[in-house]
Amino acid sequence: MSFLDVTLKLLSGFQDTLLLFFFTLLLALPLGLVFTFGTMSKWKPLSFVTRGFVYIIRGTPLLLQLMVVVYIPGIVFNSPLVRWPIFAGNTNAAYFAGALFAFVINYACYFSEIYRGGIESISQGQYEAGQVLGMTKSQIFFRIVLLQVIKRIMAPVANETITLVKDTALAATVNVYEIYFMSREILNSEFIIWPLFYSGAFYLIFNAGLTWLFRHIEKKLSYFRS
């Protein structure tokens, strides 16, 4: 296999890597906020259940969670994911959706804890200032608190996002044809090992871009101090 062939094959895998990455981020970022509201809820049953859920997800390996999502429907409920009607027989789509589901839940839990830390770090005075100015709870959250929280959590969110890029490789274990899967397949069929390390360059370059992006956002938010 030529360098070009390998590159093309890895690129086709990297496409799935990127899809998994972007959709996970797109869904887990807002879902994390929902979990945060759950854990911070004053209604005890809700906060108890959400905390318990976050505790379990954060306390077990993502690798296992992937297995659970992809194989439990078939093994336990006798209804394999790949035969679900919504996938219309497209096994690749079924595996991808299963992996995406596990990633979204897992990352939403991590994000929710980051959000919670950010929200709790905002001084009570900001809420009170909004209250005495006749603002509603949601106005106080969205108009006053949110941007300050975003500024404060930028660094940990960047960290988590960069981890996500690399974690997508775990999806190979449940038959998502992402870049690590592809490089391993080349190893198995062609007995060449360098594509495995070559795939690392894709992650590295992509993360370099993300690092730049996050630094840019942090700079954009540096016009105020809180």
Partner: protein, 259 residues
């Protein structure tokens, strides 16, 4: 008729009784200062009046109408409390400006959000926004900050921040403007500029309720002074009278230490 009246206000935190039956009233255009040592309950009283704490017992009246009744729990919903708060403005010890907004936007934000609730906002959007902006600029001129409209809170001094906070509170045209130790976080030199703004407001007959440690200010500006001690009003009366002729031993001690 009194513009504001507090009747028999009680507040407990856990087992600690902080307010043990507070009664007072104030007239329109009056400046009322609340003095007293730390822990006497004066800040808690101010926070109750601004609904940041809910009194356990007692009532507030505004212009003779019942504003708040601790016994009527049904009237304590977030929305009702929010409406009631609009009669009062509060300036905090720690300013609490919104850091991500400019000075002008800090002042405009709440009036804009409030204007959006009115039914004719959509029709006259542009005009209403223009009016709010003009009013905000006028208020910022009044506190001497017309050249800082586009600055962010982190770019101006503490005294300037507190003056923005005053303008921000005035922007909603409250019936009573409350201050919670407005100069305690400022150094003496800067305290002067904030007190000057407050003196001007007093001259314009703004109704003000001021919790303060600035005895000079209380004596010079206020019409009436309340001395709080251990959760009750220990002494209340005409400012000059309270300062020159304190009746209770506790107030005599307090004033001699504060001098």
């Amino acid at each position: 008729m009194a513009i504001f009246e507090a009747k028999n206000i009680y507040k407990k935190f856990g087992d600690t009784e902080v307010l043990k039956g507070i009664d007072f009233s104030m007239e329109k255009g009056e400046v009322l200062c609340i003095i007293g040592s730390s822990g006497s309950g004066k800040t808690t009283l101010l926070r109750c009046i601004n609904f940041l704490e809910t009194p356990d017992r007692g009532e507030f009246y505004l212009n003779g109408n019942l504003l708040f009744d601790a016994a009527d729990k049904k009237s304590h919903s977030d929305e009702e409390i929010r409406q009631k708060r609009l009669h009062l403005g509060l300036v905090f010890q720690s300013f609490n400006l919104f850091p991500q907004y400019t000075v002008l936007d800090n002042v405009c934000l709440a009036p804009l959000l409030l204007a959006k609730e009115s039914p004719d906002y959509k029709k006259n959007k542009k005009q209403i926004r223009e009016e709010i902006r003009a009013h905000a600029i006028e208020l910022l001129k009044k506190v001497g900050l017309e050249d800082k409209l586009d600055s962010y809170p982190c770019q101006i001094s503490g005294g300037q921040q507190q003056r923005v906070a005053i303008a921000r509170a005035l922007a909603l045209k409250p019936d009573i403007l409350c201050f919670d130790e407005p100069t305690s976080a400022l150094d003496p030199e800067i305290t002067v500029e904030v007190l000057a703004v407050m003196k001007n407001l007093a001259k314009e007959d703004t109704t003000m309720l001021v919790v303060t440690h600035e005895m000079g200010f209380a004596r010079e500006v206020s019409d009436k002074v309340i001395f709080m001690d251990n959760g009750v009003i220990a002494e209340m009366g005409d400012a000059e009278e309270v300062f020159t002729n304190p009746k209770s031993r506790r107030l005599q001690e307090f004033l001699s230490v504060m001098k």
